[in-house]
């Protein structure tokens, strides 16, 4: 049994893959992780998606089969090489695997990667489940080599993370014939070359269209109930089969270029044609432009999954039939929400607690990663988050574009270690170069935390966990032009030091960088200490410790008391000792000194002493 991501990795290996490069991002992350398990290929974490695609292009231009993997927002970053290399093409097969987060479980937007196929004139394949992901990965490599083009394999969350049975095969040996051919008229994309390649790109697309018309990946499944015929792709197909087992279905595996002749013929066999596509009205628009009558987004939503509970009532309504109503046992919206939160003992907790105390004096420019959770209760310590790296660039804009109302506010940018390496370096360079006034917090937890702990050039390990050169953040930041006296490295569990450094640097009208240096609690380098407990009699119910947002601190009892003629809410707390990592952050917030370590620290490291 394999997930779609595992199936892609297995198929790529079987296809003779030589090199894979990716930047982690849910739901695509496991593809590269899985590829490190296979021998005889090179799997690498790239610092960002543009880099990943360009590395893969280099390998494919050299004649080897290569793969780049990313999530949907990553393609925006990789768009530059994608659009250009479409002209020059590749020699060894190159498959760009993109995982669309349909339903937005962990992304800043829900975008439809199929557009990139149209935009870049690159074919798109859309598997529906793990077995198809396996088969189409192989087909994608073959198509890529046959037409000398990058091929996009578009997955969605429901392919990446769905496990089903997969039948596997053997590895084909990697390409060994050929190699790089000197041909500046192809590989050097100056305007004259690009102009010469444009007609070739158009010819290729025409040939791909013919390929699509005859592709075994585009299949008609006959059905007995011809009132509605469905044109669909990806997991949409499974939803259709589940909802309407008797309906005729045209399933598009090679969905771009679309096989209009097949679709036209299919339309002639059914009463009405409905396009079921996740997420945008893309194929439907193309069909209408081709004069093929159909409906789709008029009756179906343009975001989220098109699951049976969406499809069944929509089609019933479309056919003028009674819409089935299902009475649910309980209204789940009545149960409190359980949003993701930072972990017990997370090194970011102290940073956000500190920022929340300075809330009125700062505008906080945020970034993508675990620390985006700092926008949530109880810290509420982020003002903006747009995309990876935007914390630093937007901080410059927030500084230079400020209006009188914000004259007294400092600008603070918060970014993580992997994120800084992904897109932050340029932003910091730009901030210094343009004489911005912002304090930059680099929360270095020595891993890519949000996606589950991958490595990057700051961790000293490669994708295989083997030792790798480790970037020196302080030297790097200095080289970007930040003055040495404006760079600080701080233990984020020592909040008074953090608070003072932050206040001091906010007051200085130039770029400062504060690096926090404690590891993510989910990685091996993290060290736990003896847990803390609350002395019940000493707890005054002030609730300060709750403001750290540590999930191990629980309310034991609430009380309302009258103080100075006002009602005051008290919350007496307990600590969940099984969760507590002994970081001691909460002790620094406790006025009455009611939080004590349960036993002497097992290790007398500097850390433990520092945490008291």
């Amino acid at each position: 049994m394999m997930s779609g991501n595992e199936a892609v990795a297995r198929a790529a290996w079987e296809s003779g893959l030589a090199l894979a490069s990716a930047y982690p991002g849910t739901p695509s992350t496991e593809i590269l992780e899985e590829l490190t398990q296979y021998p005889d290929l090179n799997a690498q974490w790239a610092v960002n998606e543009k880099v990943a695609l360009e590395v893969a292009i280099g390998a494919a231009v050299a004649g080897s089969r290569s793969l780049a993997a990313m999530k949907q927002v990553g393609v925006n970053v990789a768009a530059d090489p994608l659009m250009s290399q479409s002209l020059a093409g590749v020699v060894g097969g190159l498959v760009l695997v993109v995982a669309d987060d349909v339903g937005l479980s962990s992304s800043q937007n829900e975008q439809d990667t199929r557009f990139w196929g149209r935009f870049a004139h690159i074919p798109v394949m859309e598997p529906a489940d793990a077995q198809e992901a396996f088969e189409m990965t192989k087909a994608a490599f073959d198509l890529s080599e046959k037409f000398e083009t990058i091929v996009i394999l578009r997955l969605t969350t429901r392919v990446c993370h769905v496990k089903s049975l997969v039948t596997v095969g053997e590895r084909r040996p990697p390409n060994s014939e050929g190699g790089f051919t000197y041909d500046p008229n192809r590989w050097v994309l100056v305007p004259s070359t690009a102009k010469r390649r444009l007609p070739l790109q158009a010819e290729r697309e025409k040939a791909l269209k013919a390929e699509s018309e005859s592709s075994p990946l585009n299949v008609v499944e006959q059905g007995s109930d011809k009132r509605v015929g469905f044109v669909t792709s990806g997991p949409g197909y499974l939803h259709v089969k589940e909802s309407f087992p008797d309906a005729p279905v045209l399933k598009l595996g090679l969905s771009h270029p679309a096989p209009f002749e097949i679709i036209r013929a299919f339309a002639g066999t059914v009463e009405r044609l409905v396009v079921v596509e996740e997420t945008e009205k893309l194929l439907e628009t193309e069909l209408k432009a081709e004069g093929i009558g159909c409906t789709g987004k008029d009756i179906l939503p343009s975001n989220g999954e098109l699951a049976p509970e969406i499809l069944i009532p929509a089609i019933a309504k479309f056919l003028g039939e009674p819409v089935p109503v299902r009475k649910l046992a309980h209204d789940s919206s009545l149960v409190f929400p359980r949003p993701p939160t930072m972990c017990v003992g997370c090194p970011h907790l102290g940073v956000y607690y500190t920022l929340s105390k300075l809330r009125r004096q700062v505008t906080i420019s945020g970034d993508i990663g675990c620390y985006t959770l700092g926008a949530l209760h109880p810290w509420k310590a982020l003002d903006t988050t747009t995309c990876m790296g935007a914390s630093l660039t937007m901080a410059l804009g927030l500084d230079k574009g400020r209006l009188p109302k914000d004259a007294d506010k400092s600008v603070v940018a918060v970014i993580g270690d992997s994120t800084f390496l992904h897109m932050g370096i340029q932003g910091l360079l730009n901030l210094v170069y343009n004489k911005g006034n912002a304090t930059v917090l680099i929360l270095d937890n020595q891993t890519v935390g949000m996606t589950g702990g991958q490595d990057h050039p700051g961790t000293g390990k490669d994708a295989y966990g083997m030792p790798a050169p480790k970037v020196d953040f302080i030297k790097l930041i200095e080289a970007l032009g930040v003055k040495p006296e404006r760079i600080h490295k701080i233990n984020p569990y020592m909040m008074p030091v953090l608070f003072k450094t932050l206040k001091d640097e906010m007051a200085i009208p130039e770029v400062s960088v504060i690096i926090t240096d404690q590891p993510c609690v989910l990685i091996e380098d993290h060290q736990r200490f003896a847990p803390y407990t609350v002395i019940e009699e000493a707890c005054t119910g002030c609730g300060n410790c709750l403001k750290t947002g540590c999930p191990a601190i629980l309310v034991r009892k609430r009380e309302t008391v009258a103080k100075n003629g006002k009602d005051q809410e008290l919350a007496f707390v307990d600590i969940d000792i099984s969760g507590c990592t002994g970081c001691g952050l909460c002790t620094e917030t406790c006025g009455p000194d009611a939080i004590k370590r349960m036993m002497p620290p097992t290790k007398t490291s500097k850390e433990a002493q520092a945490h008291g």
Binding site: S164, K241, V335
Partner: protein
């Protein structure tokens, strides 16, 4: 394809409780029983203390991996309030096995929301069959809080269309591969869960 030939099991809980591992073990047992199987979950931020669900479907041929609301045959809830949150996914004729352990998130401990007073009563009021299991207590008695998922697997094993022992076999195989004594311990947890479910069903 008759709908009754397909079994839908919805597992729910919180990141870190072993929901996904339990789901994988049930999937293995279903494969061993000769079924086509699909299993899906939304991972990602779930590991940051959020809600985790795993949809497991098996039968002669499975298309969609997700279980629509009101279509689960079995709900296996690893946490009390999560049991209430997902009870709507259960068929009226389905059965819910609910761990009575409460896990309080920061939004509740900081006073933003309140935890339901009596989720068990609310679940009962929905009219579905429900068996409460003190999986947290049982796991602690066996000396390891992380055994909750094996206790819950024992509890659910009797409600599936294949022999409970085949689930136990998959469970033991998985943990014995790491350490033989882990296999023994998890088998104990499994049996304790099975007994608790049998006793709970009688009481209900």
């Amino acid at each position: 394809m008759a709908e009754s030939a397909i079994t839908n099991v919805l597992l729910c809980g919180i990141g870190g409780q072993g929901v996904l591992t339990a789901s994988e073990i049930l999937a293995e047992a279903a494969i061993a029983a000769g079924h086509d199987v699909k299993k899906t979950e939304v991972a990602g931020m779930a590991q940051r203390g959020g809600v985790v669900t795993s949809h497991l479907r098996f039968g002669p041929k499975i298309f969609s991996p997700a279980i629509p609301p009101g279509q689960a045959d079995v709900l296996l809830a690893f946490e009390l309030a999560e049991g209430l949150r997902w009870i709507s996914h259960l068929k009226p004729s389905g059965i819910a096995l609910v761990n009575t352990m409460r896990v309080i998130p920061p939004v509740v401990s900081t006073g933003l929301f309140s935890y339901p007073v009596d989720p068990l009563a609310d679940i009962r009021a929905s009219g579905t069959r429900m068996v409460p299991i003190d999986a947290g207590g049982i796991a602690k008695e066996l000396g390891n809080a992380r055994l909750v998922n094996s206790v819950m697997l024992g509890a659910v094993a009797g409600a599936l269309p294949f022999a409970p022992d085949s689930v136990k076999e998959c469970l033991v195989k998985r943990f014995s591969a790491k350490k033989p004594e882990l296999g023994v311990l998890n088998a104990q947890a499994f049996e304790a869960g099975r007994a608790a479910a049998a006793a709970g069903a009688k009481a209900a």
